[in-house]
Symmetry: C2
Amino acid sequence: MSPKVSKEHKEQRRANILEAAKDVFIEHGYEQTTMKHIMDAANVSRGGLYQYFTNKEDVFESLLEEMLGDSVEKAKKLLAEKGLSHWELLLTCLFGEDRTPNNKMHPISATSLEFFITGRKDTRRREYGKMRYYNGVKLFADIIDEGKDCGEFTTSFESETIARTIISYTDGLAVDYAMLPSEDVKLREQSEVFIEYLKAILGVKQ
Amino acid sequence: MSPKVSKEHKEQRRANILEAAKDVFIEHGYEQTTMKHIMDAANVSRGGLYQYFTNKEDVFESLLEEMLGDSVEKAKKLLAEKGLSHWELLLTCLFGEDRTPNNKMHPISATSLEFFITGRKDTRRREYGKMRYYNGVKLFADIIDEGKDCGEFTTSFESETIARTIISYTDGLAVDYAMLPSEDVKLREQSEVFIEYLKAILGVKQ
């Protein structure tokens, strides 16, 4: 008879596996990572790993979900808080709580790109990518819409289109960052220019 | 004794192979394409193919070189021609001779992304990607610099940084386009917004 494991304990185990898998995916990329790598890094048996995840794709998507969940939660909390302008909220979603661009990019971003680019001919993965894309578009478009409603932003362009340009731009930074070291991509300087773009088109005076 | 083949004939043969390879790479992507696919599509023997190219990477890079060469030639010709403003020149480099964004993206762009993203841990491929990145940055930065020199553009931001944002943005469109059909990416609408961004930061009045 196998020992009873509490729900909390199971969740903790799952979280530990994901944490270990994150480092493995960053190190090896998506294609080169195996379930064996993850077992070793998380220090679990094969049975222990497959109890939580059906395959490598499942591990990686769970990891992405968890990371996205965290940032959406943060954004919602900030939306609920009074005091932040919609412009500040946009900057928070883009650059984190200090709203200031820096030279750091999440190290998993290159693996994430690889996951979607190499899987682009797979129907299931395309659907998943599309769902994530539209979630991102909606996050930014909602903030821009609300900023327009309260007169903070100008209404010259559709919020959704502006939101798409934000996604495309950050996807592009991820490509360049995957290929080049950050000192070559100049993330901070580029983001400062991108902020000016957004200010101009949203009519932000600051 | 093998028959003598003129230099022109050889160049033509090589060009034919690249043309056939282009379609193969678009259809199968980079990783899934084999030299056998290319032999079949180009209707050449193994010996006929390896006479021109040492491996798949060589074929693909030669293809990219040829396509880049074409567009740089065009840009140089336009730079030499009188009559185009630097703003029009920028638009030409971005959107082609009619300087108007549309919903089309070169179908090889997804394969090209795959080539660089999956090869990002390979020293040689990284170097090659870096060289191409800086060629692109220089192309745009030179036009912006000249536009500043003749008073057409404002000088608020470094030309090189603006050039980098152009590259990042187009790389991002390529990512989104690789994952989603163009009606979901809305290339034309996004590019219209990006043109407004550039106009604002370069001080273009039109």
